[in-house]
Symmetry: C2
Subunit: 416 residues, 2 copies
């Protein structure tokens, strides 16, 4: 293949036909896709095994890549949930008669063609495709080469369903993984309406710096939990252990513990029993290092400056002792990726200051950043977690896969 432009043009054409389908027809398509994924789960698992065989199991991405029956059934059930969520496309957002007699409506309409560039997780393939189809959008998927076989298997199953339903299979395209095509995609403003990078900070930076198409940044999560001195320290330890260890390869997992100096010596040892089964690697600042050393923690290093603002994506974290809420706020302001930030405290005034002043998509008091998730918020499957401020912030789910159109009907009015 020399150019992906012909492929993208076909997707643009397919998007127009898709936008004309009824909401009911689009929901039915998604249900059929869920059925087909279930029926063909062995085919997906076989393809996934080929992908997995190419990867080092110690790679932090390995866990993200794997698909088994239970993960496929989660994907399938995500699709069924998507089919049931209210379709945002076609909704009348505003309707009024202007003084001059013109009727004005603001209507939610599909975006058109949604381009998603992502890395290992093959469930993204099915999530993005079903979310786009449900909301009347075509999708261009550029998955990572790690998951190439899994993604192809999933897209072939989806395209088969489209074909059997009389919908152009071009409505869901899987791009070749050749790197040279990514740049072509980012410049195809004529055919693609929005680009969503989902993955590492490097990927997101590359897309931001090279895309001529409006972009929603998602994915990179440098997340802090600040344990303030009035916190219930046992509850805070559970929250920190959960935020770090429960699924460390995802973006809402904890990267840095901040703790008030007054309670650091009491609090930090409390996380160790929870860290033990995972042998969490701790990068501690000078004061925290002494505390962990005294507790006998072996997998311990003195932190370097680069360990703050670092997304670990594995069983590792950095720890810093702070002397005030302001110091914690300043640290977060400097190093946060504006994804998910938490405080544990009993002081309502400080909690309110934290929740108001931290500039992030999701802010948490006395609970785990792992809850930052479209499903948890009741939005259904998500395309990613937006860390930017335009259009969608935080979980980017079905409700945001639309734009607006102003429709005015008059009978000859002109402007004075």
């Amino acid at each position: 293949m020399d150019s992906i432009l012909p492929l993208l043009e076909k997707t643009k054409i397919a998007s127009r036909a898709l936008a004309k389908l009824s909401n009911g027809k689009r929901s039915a398509l998604v249900v059929e896709i869920a059925d087909a994924l279930e029926k063909n789960s062995d085919k997906i698992i076989a393809a996934n095994a080929r992908d997995a065989a190419r990867m080092d199991p110690d790679d932090p991405k390995y866990d993200r890549l794997l698909l088994d029956k239970s993960r496929i059934s989660a994907i399938e059930s995500d699709a069924r949930n998507v089919s049931k969520i209210e379709d945002p496309a076609g909704k009348i957002l505003l309707e009024k008669k202007l003084e001059n007699g013109i009727s004005l409506k603001k209507i939610a309409v599909p975006l058109g063609v949604v381009g998603v560039i992502y890395e290992s997780r093959p469930n993204v393939t099915a999530d993005v495709a079903t979310l786009c189809l449900k909301s009347g959008n075509a999708a261009v998927l550029r998955g990572g080469s790690d998951a190439a076989d899994s993604n192809l298997a999933i897209v072939e199953i989806i395209q088969e369903v489209l074909k059997n339903s009389g919908v152009s299979p071009d409505a869901v395209q899987l791009m070749p993984t050749d790197r040279k095509f990514v740049k072509d995609l980012l410049e195809a403003e004529k055919f693609v309406d929005i680009i969503i990078p989902r993955g590492s900070a490097n990927l997101i930076k590359f897309v931001r710096e090279n895309s001529k198409i409006p972009t929603i940044e998602t994915g990179a999560g440098v997340c802090h939990t600040f344990v303030e001195k009035t916190a219930d320290l046992d509850a805070a330890a559970k929250i920190v252990v959960n935020a770090k260890t429960q699924r460390p390869s995802v973006c809402n997992s904890l990267d840095t513990i901040l703790v008030s100096a007054e309670v650091a010596a009491e609090f930090l040892p409390k996380v160790l029993p929870g860290f033990l089964p995972f042998d969490v690697e701790i990068f501690a600042d000078e004061r925290a290092f002494e505390i962990f050393k005294k507790s006998g923690w072996k997998n311990l290093k003195k932190s370097e400056p680069a360990d703050f603002g670092r997304e670990f994506l594995g069983q590792a974290c950095s720890v810093k002792i702070v002397d005030s809420l302001d110091e914690a706020l300043d640290h977060i302001s400097e190093f946060s990726s504006r994804h998910s930030e938490a405080i544990c405290s009993k002081n309502q005034e400080l909690i309110d200051r934290f929740l108001n002043e931290v500039d992030a998509a999701s802010v948490f008091a006395n609970t785990s950043t792992r809850f930052a998730d479209g499903g948890m918020y009741g939005l259904g499957a998500e395309i990613g977690i937006s860390t930017q401020k335009l259009h969608a912030r935080g979980p980017f789910a079905l409700e945001k896969l639309v734009t607006e159109k102003w429709v005015l009907r008059g009978d000859g009015q002109v402007r004075e």
Copy 2:
């Protein structure tokens, strides 16, 4: 000045303080600004005269530049309107208790620092500043050198009001017009949350290709009106004349007339009496050229391919005869800037197809594209007309100067 980064950093700091002001305080500030603009109108007019003296009166931008008592009073009244519109910041968009007991709120919060890059029109300076202040945002304004004196006068008046109210005058910054600083601004993602270019297609293209900050494209309007064969031709002629001549220097004015072949010979001469006072220059395709020639129109040229998709911004337009709705739709799809597109017709089915299928921010049936305007839609003053699909589409007014924040309060919940 070597670098604008220190100035932008001060604006970022000012934005944090601004976001903490109450809605009432922010509205009061805007009223005080309106008062101050009124009181100092002579100073603004004197500054504007210095700007005007530097420009050729035949430049299509000349009309955009000029300020007189009545335009200042329009600016002042825009500001008073802004003070009265409901402030979007602080609004609770969603509130619920999750099954696990966590309380979830989605709250509208200010964007932070809004950067606007614009060209001649000095009213933009006051509009942007008041819209931003009202919604808790700081503003970085980069106006064109054509309007440098007018912009400076307006910003000095605004900063004086801020200072007198105990608000940091850094909350509204006017950037030096040196071109080299524009690139610095577009890369200052640490201090600026959103960039809005407002002006020529070239400016917008430059911003899109160089900004590392999320951008809302506004301004370029290549607008068509399609006169379909069933249209009331007299009403359609009034609409076309209004869309072209009433204020040709703005983005929602007509650039191209499309007309059904069956009625072209009857329709096109009907626009000429309305075009006469402005001696509109017509770039006509072959068939339309013959019709206008027969009618004796002098200011007539055969169209070149570049005359379609061209934003004229003056008393000139191109004309093309089409043989079907589909030909009109294809032409619009190829050449539209997705700003404002109109049809004149009595055929409801064709009207519905046009309104549904044309991909533009605003679509009109039997009325003038000149109505594409935040004020006309009841939204108050606007920052621009967005021609992109993310966040804001069409008039970009106060309601869109916010982002969302998810706030979760728990009592120790962790994710299973």
